[in-house]
């Protein structure tokens, strides 16, 4: 079951190594082992494993990580298209979702 990879080369994840303070938080929160430590700083090891959940950027205190995060969910994107909003699975209104 190793290595489910989705489409390559589409992920919006970016890391500014200059800003990294080496706290390792991105490594701790990433569910797909995208990051690795190199010379006490984070580097992106497996970019195509990224599912743009945004956990790393959210927990990066110096703000070294940028990613356009959102739901990687077709139904959510269709919801967004219909309503002209950002993709949203709309869980709270009682509709079925993720």
């Amino acid at each position: 079951m190793k290595g489910f990879i989705y489409l390559p080369g589409v992920v919006t994840l970016e890391l500014d190594i200059e800003k990294c303070n080496g706290c390792r938080m991105c490594m701790m929160v990433c569910p797909h082992a995208v990051f690795e430590m190199e010379n006490k700083r984070a580097v992106i090891r497996n970019k195509d494993f990224c599912m743009e959940c945004g956990a790393c950027a959210k927990n990066c205190q110096p703000g070294a990580i940028i990613v356009k995060s959102g739901v990687g969910c077709a139904a959510g994107i269709i919801n967004g298209l219909i309503r002209g909003t950002e993709p949203s699975c709309d869980c709270s209104s009682g509709e079925s979702c993720c």
Partner: protein
């Protein structure tokens, strides 16, 4: 310091009577949430109450009752899924004290149940935040399980008075919504992210509150894919009944006029074909996901749909004429492809950018296939094609 165990019911303000009652913890519930309490589920998991400095805390069972199991099954099949909640607040597993660990989770009862079961045999506090009854990951993605709510719950339940240390353990998948450094800044509590799965909490504790890389990775094995299949199966809702009926009605049209006999036979075949396409996309494709070639879910679904269509053709279910057969191939393929693409929402590895890219070509293709197939099939009703 030891807490006095009361065991029985306490004259706690706001708490309702009744066996087990609605759970309002720490005496902190405001009136509005206390009214909402009627909607919250309690399958009798409360075994007693403990008095603490931050209020009365329900003590809960760390095992599942048959009712928990039954309800879990129902929720997996979408029965009452959107309203399966526990009341937010503090709960006690075992007999925790001022140095015990605090585990934070959302108020979707399935999340809560998995956590308390994983803590069996330990003495620990559980802080349930209001994630609006949504699972941790989805709630974190939406921001409901977020920094603000975690901070709010720490404050209104007076966590600082309950324990001496200043650490809380959050599920790793909540990190999408929670900024650990912000929580620290606003409350003084350090956030430690635990493992992805509650069942890995014990190894996580044994390793000194460190989740090894294996515990931090999210996987998507067959068992977990199967658990999520029922959710997508009901995507079609009442259309699953309406569409086959419309097909049955149309099946009665023949070039010679309307025939009720044709409506049922071969009309029934259209129902079989439709459901085959639908289930090929939402059951077969998810189950066989890693073994089907292609990265795009829509292509995986299309491949499975056509495989199923070949099978149906060999059973003479796709009609006799070439036009009808091609029409069914288009409809089954399009339907299966669309349903498979929907599974991206259940999967644990698809990115928004990826799904958007996939949909840009897949959605128009799916719509064209189904419309073209539909048009072709209706044509065969009225002509000798």
């Amino acid at each position: 310091m030891l807490y006095r165990r009361t065991g029985g019911r306490l004259p706690l303000s706001g708490r309702r009577g009744g066996r087990g009652g609605e759970v309002i913890t720490s005496g902190q519930a405001d009136k509005q949430t206390s009214r909402q309490a009627d909607k919250y589920m309690n399958s009798g998991f409360i075994t007693g109450y403990i008095q603490t400095k931050s209020g009365t805390v329900p003590q809960i069972a760390a095992t599942w009752s048959w009712r928990d199991r039954l309800n879990t099954m129902k929720v997996r099949w979408s029965v009452g899924r959107m309203n399966y909640r526990v009341f937010p607040g503090i709960y006690a597993v075992g007999t925790p004290d001022r140095s015990s660990r605090v585990f934070v989770t959302g108020n979707f009862k399935l999340s809560f149940d998995h956590l308390r079961r994983a803590l069996n045999g330990l003495d620990a506090w559980i802080l349930v935040i209001d994630s609006k009854g949504i699972n941790v990951w989805c709630a974190a993605g939406k921001g409901t399980f977020g920094t603000k709510e975690v901070v709010r719950r720490i404050r209104i339940h007076h966590l600082d008075q309950l324990i001496d240390h200043r650490k809380i353990i959050l599920p790793q998948l909540s990190a999408t919504g929670v900024a650990a450094h912000e929580v620290k800044r606003m409350t003084g509590f350090s956030v430690i992210y635990g493992p992805v799965k509650a069942t890995d909490i014990k190894p996580f504790i044994d390793a000194g509150l460190k989740a090894s890389e294996a515990l931090r990775r999210i996987r998507f094995p067959l068992v977990e894919r199967m658990k999520l299949i029922p959710v997508d199966m009901f995507y079609g809702k009442y259309y699953m009944l309406a569409v086959p009926v419309v097909f049955l009605i149309f099946a009665g049209f023949t070039p010679e006029g309307y025939s009720f006999e044709d409506m049922l036979n071969p009309g029934w075949k259209s129902t079989v074909n439709l459901f085959s396409g639908y289930f090929s996309g939402c059951i077969l494709t998810p189950a066989l996901l890693p073994w089907i070639p292609f990265r795009r879910f829509s292509l995986k679904g299309l491949a499975m749909g056509w495989l199923v269509a070949v099978l149906l053709a060999s059973l003479n279910l796709l009609g006799t004429g070439l036009t009808e057969m091609i029409s069914w191939f288009l409809m089954i393929g399009g339907l299966s492809s669309f349903m498979a693409m929907n599974f991206t929402g259940s999967s644990t590895f698809t990115s928004l950018s990826g799904v958007q890219k996939e949909m840009k070509t897949a959605l128009p293709a799916q719509i064209s296939m189904v419309s073209l197939g539909l048009a072709g099939w209706i044509l065969t009703r009225f002509t000798d094609l």
